[in-house]
């Protein structure tokens, strides 16, 4: 174990330092009344170097596929971790760009919001790579507490405050369960280190270990918003500002899902089989209830919140033991696909939203009011429904179904297909609004900022690129794992 800070070690800390620095700068900006530094410049200034740095580290480690730890307290340097961190930083950057929209400029606490985004991002960054239960928990809390505050940051809206409280209470419950689980693990193994725990768990008292894993799975479901722990999702997604919703639905979900997946596949891999039934029930409930409740929603953000529950369940099949062991790509492939689409959807919603909430009728005739935004949202909805022309969506689903069939979960595969049919109903409800001609009194052209055009085009081009060359992502993921 090398404790001296030499060059490679500095590399590990630079992204975190940059992110925290960005957060501090935004807080400073919030306190000064004059000389407002443009938000978009601030975001670019700290995010872009972080992404470049991470990309550099990734390329640095790329030739050596064996993993090693720089220090036991901090980071795993497995390629898949570095890769997820890179993706995480990119999507966090794209989500953070939304805060520079003109409509947020005159609102209270813009600087603080950006600071919270920076802090949450640094928390998520550590969460993905950490090899220690305490750091894992702490970084999760940094991510979560920043998110609670972000949800409540729309100071003029009562709904936003209410949603923040709901989110706080249920998120805290999740944190408690996870903390309890970690405490129990420490109780039987006397260690927080993943490697050490993994070796000792098999000899430890089985009932305690199973109890702690059960708590962990339920805590994770609460954080991910799976049924029956989903009560906060719809309220929070609807009441928060769209930029915040975007951050929660894409960035936070990505970090928590990957981190949960990594900890289960690294530490609990031999035990998680005992909970297959529980996970199965959670997944089935999430698919059915998420899709059914989405159908009756009148608010587009709320509808997408329920759809997010269902999609979370689709990639959560990765937590089932046989898939966890053999078909990890299915989890990553679907997660990456869903994250991109969720970013596209909520970024587009952000351009449309005026006050809090976005009634679905405001999407009417979008393709005529703004051909670009309409087309992007149309393609996103078709992809979420798993239909061409963006075939990447279907390939990701094919991966999930292939994994399920190989593991013998034919019933679950059928449930996913049933969920897809239900899902198509409400996606097509939005699609039919988008393409139906706008009545004259509702015809308002939509203004999109260049920043949004660029980020949406980038995301769309990524999807199209991977539709044309699917091997480049799927095979690449297989190689990384």
């Amino acid at each position: 174990m090398n404790s001296s800070v030499n060059f490679p070690n500095l590399i590990e800390f630079a992204p975190i330092a940059l992110l925290v620095l960005g957060g501090l700068w935004s807080m400073l900006r919030a306190t000064s009344r004059e000389n407002k530094f443009p938000i978009v410049a601030l975001t670019n200034m700290f995010f872009l170097p972080t992404i470049l740095w991470q990309g550099y580290v990734y390329i640095l480690y790329l030739p050596s596929s064996d993993c090693y730890h720089v220090s036991s307290i901090l980071f795993s340097r497995e390629l898949i971790v570095l890769f997820s961190q890179l993706i995480f930083l990119i999507i966090a950057y794209l989500a953070a760009l939304n805060f520079s929209e003109p409509k947020y400029q005159n609102k209270l606490g813009l600087g603080e919001k950006l600071a919270l985004v920076f802090f949450a991002t640094s928390g998520g960054y550590v969460l993905l790579a950490t090899q220690n239960l305490v750091t894992w928990y702490l970084s999760l809390e940094i991510l979560a507490i920043s998110s609670y505050a972000l949800v409540g940051a729309n100071l003029t809206s009562k709904a936003s405050t209410e949603a923040a409280i709901k989110y706080l209470i249920q998120g805290a419950l999740g944190s408690c369960l996870i903390l309890f689980s970690f405490a129990a693990i420490y109780g039987v193994t006397a260690s927080f280190d993943f490697e050490v725990i993994k070796g000792l768990l098999s000899q430890a008292d089985r009932s305690v270990v199973l109890l702690s894993l059960g708590f962990f799975i339920i805590g994770l479901s609460l954080k991910l918003g799976l049924v029956p722990f989903h009560y906060w999702v719809a309220d929070v997604y609807q009441a928060a500002e769209s930029a915040t919703t975007n951050y929660l639905a894409s960035v936070v979900k990505f970090a928590v899902a990957v981190a949960g997946f990594l900890i289960i596949s690294e530490v609990f891999i031999d035990l998680v089989g005992s909970f297959n039934k529980l996970i199965w029930v959670i997944i089935v409930l999430s698919i059915v209830i998420g899709n059914l409740l989405a159908i009756v929603q009148k608010d587009a953000k709320r509808m997408m919140a329920y759809s997010a529950i269902a999609h979370t369940a689709y990639f959560s099949i990765g937590f089932l033991e046989p898939i966890l062991k053999v078909f990890e790509q299915a989890f990553y492939a679907y997660l990456v696909f869903y994250t991109i689409l969720s970013l596209i959807t909520f970024t587009a919603f952000d351009a449309l939203e005026e006050d809090s909430g976005l009634p679905i009728s405001s999407l009417r005739g979008l393709i005529y009011r703004s051909p670009f935004l309409g087309t992007v949202l149309l393609l996103a909805m078709l992809s979420l429904a798993g239909l061409p022309p963006i075939f990447f969506a279907l390939l990701a689903k094919v991966f999930v179904l292939k994994a399920l069939l190989s593991a013998g979960y034919i019933g679950l595969a059928s449930v996913i297909l049933l969920g897809t049919v239900l899902g198509c109903y409400y996606y097509f409800k939005l699609i039919s609004l988008i393409v139906s001609p706008a009545e004259d009194d509702t015809f308002r052209p939509v203004y999109i900022t260049p920043v949004k055009v660029i980020s949406l085009s980038l995301l769309m081009l990524t999807l199209i690129y991977y539709t044309i060359y699917p091997s480049r992502i799927f095979d690449y993921l297989a190689k990384l794992i």
Partner: protein
């Protein structure tokens, strides 16, 4: 001149795609062009290009085009053209062309989505990789939904959802079955493949075959439609705006029957043999039930929608007979149905445009007002009830002759459909053409409609008089795919009677063979 098949097929697929992209750009005001000219240009080019397929097949040799798309999953863009897909593409291109004549001056989005439907139909007729087939199979959903909702009223929106959900539920069963096919191949070979050629060499156990058969069957049964999966059809046909029922009734169903032939029959022959009696019964129910409902129908499009359920039943019955003669008859029935359904729906569309009424009872005594219209209505009605010398007679006769050998009792019931067909079609003609003329003016057909209907009629007659123009191709395809000699079905198990009976049956049942 040597035409490379791969180039022909690529151009064939890319032309409508590029056309659709141009039209969408026009719809988004990114470029300037005349939408209906563009549509006409593209559909003409597709028709002309598809004529090159046979010469390319003859000269180029191999009929397989492959681009690796996702090799590690065994998904390749493999396209293959044989006689069946060639004919189907030719007919599809022709119908899209005629539809452009009937609907001038629509928006760019309208034409763009029509071209997307054309792409998806051509693509699925060509693709021999199951997942690529699925891609094209699903590609048509959004354009249809768009055309139904953006141009329609509340009823057509409701019908669009119904169509969408039915088709999706079916096609997701198809997806599950396709993935299982690939997985089953993986279990024996160690790598995934969704290529038809690879899967044909794979042995599925009978139990696997039955489940996979059902997965494929449900999807295609919804699309065709086969009783009892037909309930989306009347609503969709009755509410499709702007004469889109012409496209739906004339072209979409062929995807289902084509799929049943290309995948169910060829990939899972043993399961198909198991299910053949069930299929025959369902087809017969469809034939009789569709005919009965058509008889009682009060609206023009309702009548034609139920009539098409009845006609599609004959195709399925032909496939269920599982012998080259019946199968090729069933396939021939696809083309006869395309011509007749398009003709009849064009007439229905013309009637509705003139009188803005959908009820049969609102029309009376048109024979004296619109002689050309009446001529075409009579001709297409007679074709619809399979008068000899029309193409439908050939198909129906082949189907009934072949299925009688396998399912004599069921076929007798199916024959009822032929009689009922005459009852409802002639009843419809009598009501509309004769009797006391009503006060309202009824303009005779305009030049566009005359051109479309007469070209269809010429095809119906020419192919009815010289059926071997296409039936030879279809028989060859069917016997090739079934790996059976066309005459093999007539082999009787009893060796002693074999020679005598075969001669007798051959003479009785092979009117087409007599040309030789």
């Amino acid at each position: 001149m040597n035409f490379n098949l791969s180039i022909v097929l690529q151009v064939l697929l890319l032309t409508p795609i590029l056309g659709a992209v141009c039209l969408f750009l026009k719809a988004g005001k990114f470029c300037e062009l005349r939408p209906d000219w563009m549509y006409k240009f593209v559909t003409w080019s597709v028709l002309l290009i598809s004529f090159f397929i046979p010469s390319a097949l003859l000269l180029g040799g191999i009929g397989l085009v492959e681009f690796a798309w996702f090799p590690s999953m065994g998904i390749n863009f493999s396209f293959y053209a044989d006689g069946l897909s060639y004919l189907a593409i030719l007919f599809t291109a022709f119908i899209f062309l005629t539809y452009g004549l009937l609907n001038r001056g629509q928006s760019a989005g309208f034409y763009g989505n029509l071209l997307l439907i054309e792409v998806s139909l051509i693509g699925l007729l060509l693709s021999v990789n199951l997942l690529v087939f699925y891609f094209f199979y699903e590609l048509m959903l959004f354009p249809i939904f768009y055309l139904m909702t953006a141009n329609g009223n509340a009823a057509s929106k409701k019908a669009a959802y119904q169509f969408l959900l039915y088709t999706l539920a079916g096609s997701l069963c198809l997806l599950l079955a396709i993935i299982y096919c690939g997985y089953s191949y993986y279990q024996t070979q160690g790598y995934f493949s969704f290529d038809l050629s690879a899967l044909l060499s794979h042995d599925f156990s009978l139990q696997e075959q039955s489940y996979l058969f059902l997965g494929f069957f449900i999807a295609f049964a919804v699309k065709s439609p086969i009783f009892p999966f037909h309930s989306w059809l009347p609503a969709t046909y009755a509410n499709a705006p702007k004469g889109l029922a012409i496209i739906f009734a004339g072209l979409l169903f062929q995807a289902g029957i084509y799929g049943l032939f290309r995948f169910n029959l060829i990939l899972f022959p043993e399961a198909f043999a198991e299910f053949a009696p069930v299929l025959a019964v369902l087809a017969t129910i469809g034939i009789v039930y569709g005919a009965l409902l058509a008889w009682r129908s009060k609206s023009i499009r309702g009548l034609m929608a139920y009539a098409s359920i009845s006609h599609v039943g004959f195709s399925i019955l032909g496939l269920a007979s599982m012998n080259p003669s019946g199968v090729s008859g069933g396939l021939l029935q696809i083309f006869s149905h395309i011509l007749i359904a398009v003709g009849l729906f064009t007439i229905a569309f013309a009637m509705e445009r003139r009188n803005s009424s959908e009820l049969i009872s609102d029309f009376q005594g048109l024979a004296s007002k619109a002689p050309v219209f009446s001529f075409f209505l009579i001709c297409f009605s007679l074709a619809s009830i399979s008068l000899p010398l029309t193409i439908s007679f050939v198909g129906e006769f082949q189907v009934l002759a072949a299925s009688f050998i396998k399912f004599p009792v069921i076929t007798c019931f199916a024959l009822l459909g032929v009689i009922l067909g005459a009852v409802y079609m002639l009843g419809f003609c009598q009501q509309v053409l004769f009797g006391e003329p009503k006060e309202e003016e009824f303009k005779d057909l305009n030049p566009d409609e005359r051109v479309v209907l007469s070209s269809l009629l010429v095809l119906i007659l020419v192919l009815g008089i010289f059926p071997r123009l296409i039936s030879d191709i279809l028989t060859q395809v069917a016997s090739q795919q079934l790996k059976q000699n066309p005459l093999e079905i007539f082999e009787i198990k009893d060796q002693q009677q074999k020679q005598k009976k075969t001669d007798g049956l051959l003479l009785a049942n092979f009117p087409i063979a007599q040309h030789e």
